[in-house]
């Protein structure tokens, strides 16, 4: 059996993302990477918490943050998490078209989220004069939330690349692990956001 045949079986196995050794390696390696990312974001959260009252005479978190936008952003990202679960559900059922559709919705939700975040930053900078350089609080806020935003951007580029690359040839055992770990990444982005909206925004206004 040639390599091509192995990667394109007649019947998709139960867990296509872990059917090959490469897939197993990717799966495990990516989870381990997420373990490391946890520490990365913890360091950023810790820095933010240490500096959140260091507003240097500028606006405080109570004065700055409004909850309406954050609520909408949270809903968008949460929903995108569910849509990527749907995508993986269809991947396991070997329904490539449906998977692409759900991934497409995920991307749209993620893009809207990113747009709103950029709008939010723009408002702070232009209307409140609150920038990366105005205080240690500003530096810490933009770094933490910006790192998360950077992850969203990277995740979007990743998923779009995967969708475009595989649009014509459909699902096989070579790309199934790639789709799967991209969805894991997307969920992890949501995990981080749960803490951001809780610790930064909600706890920032009370």
């Amino acid at each position: 059996m040639s390599h091509e045949d192995i990667l394109n079986p007649k019947v998709m196995p139960e867990e296509p993302e872990k059917a090959t050794l490469e897939g197993k390696n990717k799966f495990l390696g990516f989870w381990f990477f997420l373990g490391g990312e946890t520490v990365l974001f913890a360091s950023l959260f810790g820095t933010y918490l240490a500096l959140k009252n260091s507003n240097n005479g500028g606006p405080t978190s109570e004065e700055l943050f409004g909850l309406e936008l954050v609520f909408i952003m949270t809903m968008l990202l949460l929903t995108s998490s569910l849509t990527s679960v749907y995508a993986m559900y269809h991947m396991k059922n070997n329904e490539f078209k449906k998977m692409q559709i759900w991934l497409g919705i995920t991307v749209l939700l993620g893009l809207t989220f990113l747009g709103l975040e950029i709008y939010e930053f723009y408002e702070y900078i232009v209307h409140d004069g609150f920038t990366f350089r105005s205080s240690a609080f500003g530096s810490a806020f933009y770094t933490l939330v910006g790192f998360h935003g950077g992850h969203v951007l990277f995740g979007l580029l990743w998923i779009i690349t995967l969708m475009a690359r595989n649009a014509k040839r459909g699902l096989n055992l070579y790309n199934a692990p790639k789709f799967y770990i991209a969805s894991l990444y997307w969920h992890f982005i949501d995990v981080v956001w749960v803490f951001i909206f809780t610790v930064v925004y909600l706890m920032g206004v009370i």
Binding site: H3, E4, L7, L21, K24, N25, L28, G29, F32, F33, G35, G36, E37, V39, L40, S43, L44, G46, T47, A50, L51, N53, S54, N55, N56, F132, R133, S134, S135, A136, F137, G138, S139, A140, T143, W158, T161, L162, R165, Y174
Partner: protein, 618 residues
Amino acid sequence: MSTTIAQNKGFGATLWDYLTTVDHKKIAILYLIGGGFFFLLGGLEAMAIRIQLIKPENDFVSAGFYNELLTMHGTTMIFLAAMPLIFALLNAVVPLQIGARDVAFPFLNSLGFWLFLFGGILLNCSWFLGGAPDAGWTAYAPLSTTQPGHGVDFYVLGLQISGAGTLMGGINFLVTIVNMRAPGMTYMRMPLFTWTAFVTSALILFAFPALTVGLFLMMFDRLFGSGFFDANMGGNSVIWEHLFWIFGHPEVYILILPAFGVFSDVFSTFSKKRLFGYTAMVFATVLIGFLGFMVWAHHMFTVGLGPAANSIFAVATMAIAVPTGIKIFNWLFTLWGGNIKINSAMLWSLAFIPSFTIGGMTGVMLAAAAADYQFHDTYFVVAHFHYVIVGGVVFGIFAGLHYWWPKMFGKILDETLGKITFWTFFIGFHLTFFIQHFLGLMGMPRRYWVYLTDQGLNTGNLISTIGAFFMAIGAIVFLYNVIITSIKGEKVGGDPWDGRTLEWSIPSPPPHYNFKQLPLVRGLDPLWIEKTEGRKGMTPAEPVGDIHMPNPTILPFVMSFGLFIAGFGFIYQVDDASWLSAVFIGMGICLGAMFVRSVKDDHGHHIHKEDLDKGDGL
């Protein structure tokens, strides 16, 4: 075998072969060359430091240059010499010890190496571009954030790039050890070197992200006007110290654990005995890794964290002496009653025990927070960490190189030269650093450019410098040994030491697929088990078949080179905004290579079973 093929090719082809290789054995050689080069560079810096301190009020180097030397000596030795040399051993040995044909992520493995190399080159470019970093290897803020010039910027960007490579290496070895073990190789049958590689990789995974963030914050402060560590903007420099040591303390265990693994394998091989207390050794390794994350603030006792915090971290630090003690005794019991053969690898290992124990003992002294107020920032600390890092890590690397050199290159390093290296280096090491304990207790502060003549420090410093010259001679003899062995050394078979573990069951150097048939592992020291039952080699676990191997690729080199360019852009955009174009070009190259990697399918290739027998040296 792969090297003989390489020798028949032209220089250009060989170079291309190494630039594009994803073979863990060749990457090990690359790490060895890269790490060895930086080790010599760091050694040169150390010699300049010691010559400056040979007599009171010396003016061999200027004060500013002295600061650059001591900063670069520490940074180079930790990040660019010790880490890659450890990775050289991991790459050369771990896949062979677990019976794997390659690592889990050959591409990432190669990317990790090139990131390290380009990060190291970027950092060392600072020498020629207005001065090297000069804020100490710990780069404490606000000194580092307010230091003029670009030195510290090179530190930040260089370490950021090479640190990313290390993180990839860590994940790679974790997955390799979990997923790629040969049939029958359970966790509790893995050689101790593999176990230490596993724990070290886990430590890398959890420790390096803290450094990544710390370096980002420092980069933002220095290059983009943020205020994390700037008290004027409400920042706090203690954050840097925490982030640095949350990484920095596990880092020393990242370095020492693989050395422990080397000694365990060497002791058991050359005592012809199973490692004493294998289970306890594994347990102690895991425990050291675990405790390693709870002790970082012992570097910060004098910062003023308060008595409660200091006490907690003092007790946690002292607790590490327990698993380490378990190890020391297990090594001694492995030797006890063994059929001991003393050669260079064994000499380094035997010398390690007393040397490292002295370092461990001063470690417990330093862990006593109240006493640390006296020791802090004196030569006592310098003596302590050189005893654990040279007496532990460097001895371990030398032992490992002597032990595995035949596996890596098919030739045994010359024994006479090896013994000369050992004795000069060993005597030089104790001469250099033992006296520094007392210099420290007499109050000589570390990192000072000069000392005065009437303070009783003259003789001690003179002795220390003489010792440093001995160490330098030892290192040069080792280099000579490497060259002479590669020219004149005789070829040896696959198992020159009468070894116990899987790497000795295949030819030296191994074919690029390592194992023609994956071996069936039936216990700890699998090769030894087969030998005691009268078999020559391992029982195969599979019939001879086609072997799937990854394809070579230039992309890791390109990605790292892109980040290298972007690094210069980040550093110089503060002077001139047009340097931002270098950032975009560099990042564009890197992301473009990532994109190519992503869209271009790479299925690897098959070696057909008919071709396997050719040149099989067994």
